[in-house]
């Protein structure tokens, strides 16, 4: 295991930002850490890199304890923080050189790897630009290049595609996939489910707790046969009527479709067409579908809330 985190706890006053998180990520594996705003994703990352000391628990990066042997652990660690954290008054090249030099990359290596990385992230030709003058997506790419300059075996990315256009998002994932092929272990924090699906494993974080973790397939399997897709007009009315059905637990809107989470599919499939038609709602489609991660996540959040009350 390249990343081992056991039972991490971190509180800020009364706020339990991270509350008993354990993660294990192996080489070639991408772990998606998903959670709403304030769930504790960034705090978890900061515990993993040792920017915060944990109240409880331990972190090992490539076998080195982050608390007792931070330098060894960090020589294996690349980190792209959520917030832009390079020097905006230094050029692209100067940032890359600086972070390479302080990590002990020799100047010969630096010249070669620097050029390679800038090509890799698509910043060739921008070497002399002040990094503060780059676009949001380019800043993230430079951040990634700086995080990779010392060829780390562990890469932590905190919302790397936040505020980045869809094409750049694609680029980013292509880069991550190539790194995985080279044997890097990656953790990606993201609020986007379509990104989480690309990970080998996903952990759902809410209020500092990992609600569950597993591969996207394992997670969606838990709701197998319990999600119905409904396409009907008018949609708002259709949603209200569906929620009145005793077997429907939840109804989420996805574009022009509704996803109904049901206790069992048979009842609603039988009852709903009649109920909706009687109310003047025109149903185009009603059928069981494969659940997506978002369905699973919402179900888990509601369960967790119910358990709290």
């Amino acid at each position: 295991m390249l990343i081992e985190a056991n039972n991490l706890h971190k509180s800020f006053g009364d706020v339990r930002a991270v509350d008993g998180v354990s993660l294990h990520v192996a080489a070639c594996e991408a772990y998606g850490l998903v959670g709403p705003d304030g769930a504790g994703k960034t705090t978890t990352m900061r515990l993993l890199v040792g920017a915060f000391a944990c109240d409880e628990g331990e972190v090992r990066i490539a076998g080195h304890d982050i608390r007792t042997r931070p330098e060894d652990a960090r020589s294996n660690l690349g980190y792209l923080p959520q917030r832009f954290s390079l020097y905006s008054d230094l050029t692209v090249q100067e940032n890359l050189n600086f972070f390479g030099e302080v990590r002990g990359v020799t100047s010969a290596e630096l010249a070669q790897r620097g050029a390679e990385l800038l090509g890799f992230v698509g910043l060739k030709g921008f070497e002399q630009r002040l990094s503060g003058q780059l676009s949001g997506g380019m800043k993230q790419k430079l951040g990634l290049a700086c995080a990779l300059i010392h060829q780390p075996r562990v890469l932590l990315l905190d919302e790397p595609t936040g505020g980045v256009d869809p094409v750049t998002r694609q680029d980013f994932w292509q880069l991550i996939i190539r790194l995985l092929a080279d044997g890097v272990a990656v953790i990606v924090c993201t609020p986007y489910m379509d990104e989480a699906v690309r990970c080998n494993r996903v952990g759902f974080l809410s209020q500092g707790r990992l609600l569950t973790q597993g591969s996207p397939r394992e997670l969606t399997a838990r709701l197998e046969g319990r999600v119905l897709e409904l396409v009907a007009e008018p949609r708002v009315r259709a949603r209200q009527l569906s929620l009145d059905d005793p077997d429907v637990e939840d109804a989420q809107t996805f574009g022009n479709r509704l996803h109904l989470r049901v206790r069992a599919a048979a009842g609603p499939l039988e009852r709903l067409p009649g109920t909706l038609a009687a109310a003047g709602v025109q149903v185009t489609r009603l059928k069981p579908i494969a659940p997506n991660l978002e369905d699973v996540f919402i179900a888990l959040l509601e369960e967790a809330e119910a358990a709290h009350v």
Partner: protein, 374 residues
């Protein structure tokens, strides 16, 4: 080499920030001008209005004596006491002299002639100077007259004054304030610049989020600390030399002591001020906070170090507080070396005090300085 990379990065940032650069290298000279010229206690050319009712050779002789000393400038020759009052009220004249109509008669008769001298007391420094200057000039003139009288009576040479008090000022014989202020200015500027620049430079990393990337590099806390301080030590030394050169060229301040000793002890003083900057950085979250806190720590340093006001004239408890201010010791050092040309042995108590400060402040700051976010 990590440390070198840090220092190089810091210098690039200094150069790319024109406002800070201007603050760093222009401020010392501007301060020097302000304090060298404006904060001077030297009073010269006090505007004097004269109402000479006698208009005799004797009264002209008296006026010449006043003219000769450059304390006074006879700007107004008026014809009534009321005019003198008006001139002083309007601020056009700061002093007035009234010579009685019988001035020359009284002197010729061997009596004491009374000359009235009025001073505008609204500015105490100026009034004090005018008062003592007027008295001294008057006394000198009356001595001359007395000697003349006696010689006329054939008692020449027998009448040397019985006692003569001769005052002599050492080290700064012309009592030029600039000589006193400029060396002190080195101390003040060094402290001001190093605390502000180092504290903001460190807090800037936190404010802009760059600390998050620095934290996960293998840079050790002490390397980060040295990497942040070293550039500003160099800047501070450049400033010291800048002030000295400007002081010599513009104000003609004589450097009587050893320059290497001065630079060495400036370095010792800098350890304390950099430590203060470092401490401020550990309690500030924004550059603005760091800047304000730095300015706040400057105030007691300026007022309780003997920079403007002599310590001996202060209430006892303020004098006690002043022992806790490193600038106090450094001012003694810098004035001692520049004005008196003293060596290290005469400054031993100050050197010990500065060393103790350097050790304590830097020690506490280094202990508090962590390469972490929490």
């Amino acid at each position: 080499m990590r440390l070198l990379a840090l220092i190089r990065k810091e210098f690039i940032q200094i150069i790319r920030d024109p406002r800070t650069l201007a603050l760093t290298f222009a401020m010392p000279v501007i301060q020097l001008f302000l304090l060298g010229y404006a904060a001077t206690n030297d009073v010269r050319n006090i505007a004097l209005a004269v109402f000479d009712q006698d208009r005799s050779p004797a009264s002209r002789e008296l006026l010449d004596a006043y003219r000769a000393a450059d304390y006074f400038r006879i700007d107004f020759d008026v014809d009534s006491e009321i005019e003198i009052r008006q001139l002083i009220d309007s601020g056009a004249a700061r002093a007035g002299m009234v010579i009685p109509p019988d001035y020359s008669e009284q002197i010729a008769a061997g009596h004491t002639a009374r000359v009235a001298f009025v001073i505008d007391g609204s500015d105490p420094t100026l009034a004090g100077t005018a008062l003592s200057a007027a008295t001294l000039i008057g006394q000198a003139q009356s001595t001359d007259i007395a000697v003349e009288r006696l010689s006329r009576q054939g008692q020449l040479a027998a009448m040397d004054p019985a006692i003569e008090v001769r005052t002599q000022v050492w080290y700064n014989p012309d009592l030029v304030s600039a000589y006193y202020m400029i060396p002190a200015l080195i101390g003040m500027i060094l402290q001001f610049l190093t605390t502000i620049l180092t504290s903001t430079a460190i807090v800037r990393e936190r404010e802009r989020g760059t600390i998050e990337q620095l934290i996960i590099t293998p840079i050790r806390s002490w390397e980060l600390m040295i990497g942040k301080l070293a550039p500003y030590v160099i800047v501070a030394f450049i400033d010291t030399i800048e002030i000295l050169i400007a002081g010599i060229l513009i104000f003609g301040v004589p450097i009587n002591g050893s320059l290497p000793l001065l630079l060495l002890l400036s370095g010792l003083f800098l350890v304390s001020t950099l430590g203060i900057g470092l401490l401020i950085s550990t309690i500030s979250n924004t550059q603005q906070e760091a800047m304000l806190t730095s300015i706040f720590t400057m105030l007691p340093s300026i007022f309780l170090s003997g920079f403007f006001f002599p310590l001996a004239a202060m209430p006892q408890f303020l004098q006690w507080i002043s022992y806790a201010i490193p600038l106090r010791y450094f001012l003694i050092v810098v004035r001692g070396i520049v004005l008196k040309g003293v060596g290290a042995s005469a400054l031993l108590p100050e050197i010990i005090a500065l060393s103790v400060f350097a050790f304590i402040v830097m020690g506490v700051a280094a202990k508090r300085f962590h390469k972490r976010l929490d």
